[in-house]
């Protein structure tokens, strides 16, 4: 019997500064076999730990299908552990467990996908973007809302993304460097007729703060997008990652095990979900 909580070692292969608070870490298992065995789907997460600083869950933001010899996480500096992670350098070691959770559902072909990310909610959605192959038949729209210009993630990748998806960014606060839209993410629904832009009702994947879900889902309901098409990723405190410790329980489900991605219809009446 194995110790469920024993992590494996990964090595930092690259660090890319995204914003003042966010860094993108490229990680590779120290043991080659561990790297080969490591397969995940978009939306799954790992428990990242540093000895002496504890562990916390992080969404993986790369694609297992297209980049199998490494994986990436984007870390926002917000507490003791993440501050420590931010202080690390290329070649340093991190401990990981996982991947855990279910990830986003299979994307149906032909692809009709509306991705909606708020703030660091873009991180798990990037995993989907990295997975999708460029194909003219695909119809993908990405709504991305952030507070400030300085908080925009993956800035240098937008050009590449725009080759195969319709990227619409909106910032809550105006900025001299920003010539784009200003407002809340829901404003994006007013400028494009989603149902016309897509040949049939799209699958919608959301990730963002609870408050965003409330207003975005209202918009989706106005468009008569059925619950079965809507999937959202929830954030919770997690300790074990495997559905035992109870921190992430909502109703009779565990965000770590049955989520973090849930079909909206399955949790919409939950007292604990939003």
């Amino acid at each position: 019997m194995i110790n469920l909580y024993q992590p494996k070692t990964v090595i930092i292969k690259n660090i890319k500064i995204q914003t003042k608070e966010n860094k993108l870490f490229t990680l590779q298992f120290k043991n080659k076999k561990d790297q080969q065995k490591f397969f995940f789907t978009a939306g799954q997460f790992v428990e990242i730990g540093i000895f002496g600083f504890g562990e916390a869950p992080f969404a993986i933001c790369s694609s297992s299908l297209n980049e199998s010899d490494f994986f990436q996480i984007c870390v926002r500096k917000i507490g003791q552990l993440t501050e420590k992670i931010h202080s690390l350098k290329i070649g340093d070691e991190i401990q990981i467990r996982g991947p855990y959770g279910n990830g986003f559902p299979e994307i149906k072909n032909p692809i009709n996908l509306l991705l909606i990310g708020g703030g660091i909610g873009l991180v798990p959605l990037r995993s989907i973007i990295q997975t999708i192959k460029q194909d003219n038949k695909n119809k993908i729209i990405l709504f991305y809302g952030a507070k400030n210009y300085n908080e925009l993630l993956f800035k240098d990748e937008y050009k590449q993304w725009q080759k195969f998806l319709d990227l619409r960014i909106i910032l809550e606060k105006p900025n001299l460097k920003w010539k784009g839209r200003v407002g809340l993410i829901t404003a994006l629904f007013n400028e494009i007729n989603i149902l016309q832009a897509m040949s049939h009702k799209p699958q919608v994947f959301l990730c963002g703060p609870p408050i965003m879900y409330k207003f975005v889902i209202q918009k989706l309901k106005e468009l008569k997008i059925p619950n079965k098409n809507i999937f959202l990723s929830l954030e919770r405190r997690m300790h074990c990652g495997i559905g035992i410790c109870q921190h992430c329980a909502i109703d009779s489900k565990y965000v770590c095990k049955d989520g973090p991605v849930f079909n909206y219809g399955k949790i919409k009446n939950s007292v604990f979900a939003f």
Binding site: N3, P7, Q95, C245, D251
Partner: protein, 346 residues
């Protein structure tokens, strides 16, 4: 088996390198302590203040040690322990642990090294006892996991409901006789080797009774699922002071944190799994400080939801053993019996 034989049996177990633990009465409180002198030990037939939870799930479990960047496995294998006097309520909780921690290395190690010796609790309700004794073996014991069980035979006993609140019979322990049941081959073997043959073996038939899950449990579950906004949670929220005592004494409260503990001044430490309570402030807190369980009403609803909905849906078992310990310790006077009655009428 009589009291003096029981004491000899304990001495025998100690010779077999078991650390023996059992209930003792001190200042009117039943505490579970290590039996040092077997001649002084007597089973009281009373429910202990704390459950036996910590003997299976200790307050702190070292998952591994580390020094700088190196992980050092925790090779400390738990020692042999014999737990005397687990009540059927504690045994019900044990069934639940076995399910929840079925893949947990540390729990399984500890469970394997533990000899479980149950006892019936003596209560004064003779009427109930008569119905109950006849069905005892098939209705109660065959659904529990134990190695040996000591059924007190010569006194009115009853464990039907909420034992803390029925008056205990005063009795002279020398006169108690125990009927001995075994639940495992290990239990049989130990008794055989000790030289005691007069036991009856109970075949475990699974945790659920033939007639299935109790209708009572289903009723509570359904009512809980439908009615969050019922006033009852708001009312309880006003009473509850979020101290977490109920989760400390509850045999089925097993929530835990995983934290790192450093040894002061040294570059080493350990990762620990430790008890927590869903009533504590940081239980549902995420990065940035937001808490999902952000009111006493939500916390208490979550506590009841876990026991009466989540556990039943996950394991088809009740998450409450009906021991009544939480009623005893609640400083706000919240009585689970009354709460359940109100839930049923929702």
């Amino acid at each position: 088996m009589i009291q003096s034989q029981l004491q000899k049996f304990i001495a025998y177990l100690q010779k077999q390198k078991y650390s023996v633990f059992g209930p003792f009465e001190e200042d009117g409180i039943i505490k579970i302590k290590q039996v040092i002198n077997s001649k002084k030990f007597k089973l009281l037939g009373k429910l202990s203040f704390y459950s036996f939870k910590k003997f299976f799930l200790p307050q702190k479990e070292i998952l591994f040690n580390f020094e700088k960047n190196h992980l050092i496995k925790n090779k400390e294998i738990s020692k042999k322990q014999a737990l005397f006097g687990m009540s059927i309520f504690d045994l019900k909780a044990l069934i639940l642990y076995n399910n929840i921690f079925e893949k947990d290395f540390f729990y399984q190690q500890r469970r394997k090294n533990t000899l479980v010796i149950g006892q019936s609790i003596m209560l004064s309700d003779e009427k109930v006892f008569k119905n109950w004794e006849e069905k005892y073996e098939e209705d109660v014991l065959e659904h529990l996991r134990f190695d040996i069980f000591l059924g007190i035979t010569n006194h009115p006993t009853s464990q039907v409901c909420w034992p803390f609140f029925l008056e205990h019979n005063e009795l002279k322990s020398q006169k108690i006789k125990y009927k001995i049941f075994t639940g495992t081959i290990i239990g049989q073997k130990i008794l055989d080797e000790f030289g005691y043959k007069d036991y009856e073996h109970i075949q475990f038939t699974g945790p659920i009774k033939e007639e299935g899950v109790s209708l009572e449990m289903i009723k509570i579950k359904n009512a809980m699922k439908k009615k969050y906004k019922a006033e009852i949670w708001e009312e309880l929220g006003k009473k509850c002071i979020e101290c977490g005592k109920c989760s400390l004494v509850c045999p089925t409260c097993f929530c835990f944190d995983i934290n790192d503990q450093m040894i002061l001044g040294k570059n080493k430490g350990q990762r620990e799994q430790c008890w927590t309570s869903c009533f504590y402030q940081e239980f549902s807190e995420i990065a940035g400080g937001y808490k999902f369980l952000n009111s006493a009403a939500k916390k208490i609803y979550n506590w009841y939801y876990h026991k009466f909905v989540r556990i039943p849906e996950e394991y088809n078992l009740s998450g409450c053993t009906e021991c009544g310990r939480c009623i005893k310790v609640c400083p706000a006077g919240i009585d689970i019996r009354k709460v359940l009655e109100s839930i049923k009428t929702l």
